[in-house]
């Protein structure tokens, strides 16, 4: 990875290494939210939530726009990924499922003979 990539990865992992920020990301990836609507979801001050949103914005994970007095945030990580890397990510999800099927059927054969308690 280049120095730029390393810095971007640092910002990304820092941004996502916080439970509230990951929760904010899930909401804004599903659709645009005003920062005040987001703030209402958490037991913390508007300023604290705004700070979290700023960290995510700096990492390139979300974008903000103004609409009158409101600030609207939406998730945006498309800059980070190409179609090739997206298919690779999807592949990892599927590999996880396949591994779990393999475990499930292995469990049949290992427990079948003496399963009764």
């Amino acid at each position: 990875m280049s120095e730029d990539d390393e810095e971007r990865a640092d910002a990304l992992f820092h941004a996502l290494a916080d439970r509230t920020r990951r929760d904010i990301m899930r909401r804004v990836l599903a659709g645009e939210h005003s920062v005040s609507a987001l703030a209402a979801k958490y037991d913390m001050s508007f300023a604290a939530v705004q700070k979290h949103v700023a960290v995510l914005e700096k990492a390139g994970l979300l974008t903000k726009r103004r609409n009158g007095r409101e600030q609207l945030a939406s998730g945006d990580v498309r800059a980070v990924r190409s179609v090739a890397s997206m298919l690779t990510e999807l592949e990892q999800v599927w590999r996880g499922r396949i591994a779990r099927i393999d475990e499930l059927i292995a469990f049949d054969t290992t427990t079948h003979p003496d399963q009764e308690d």
Binding site: D23, M25, R26, V77, R78, L90, W94, R97, D102, L104
Partner: protein
Amino acid sequence: MPVTDVTHDLDALTLTITAEFAAPVERIWQVYADPRQLEKVWGPPSYPATVVEHDFTPGGRVNYFMTSPEGEKFAGYWRITAVDEPRSFSFEDGFADMDFTPNPEMPVSTNVYTFTERDGRTRATYVGTYETAEGLQKVLDMGMIEGSRAAINQIDEFIAS
């Protein structure tokens, strides 16, 4: 590892993955036909799936939700389009509201799962297609958050042990 082949078609936005399981076709079919088994394999351990409706017939729906470590639920559905037991089935996979009404803002993928048997083993071919790169992006964006969360939880466990 049971995965034997993977193909990425960048133009068609299609992922094809082939796996071989040490069990006959009927056993692998059961994994999908039995909601209790399906929920064991569909979601990662950190995001377990719960199947609440399972009509495994053409036109039928499989409704499920996944639960985050914090207890938040995310609903999804399959709309079954074809069933040829135990050889193949096709379905559309999408996101839904908590009453399982499909969420039209979220992308839908088209999936075909095929199973063939040889010498008592099953070769499973999974093909999934997204209509647009933006659609695939959106799905992964949701998954990426789950993935990073799982990874971070593992670090927490490691430190705690």
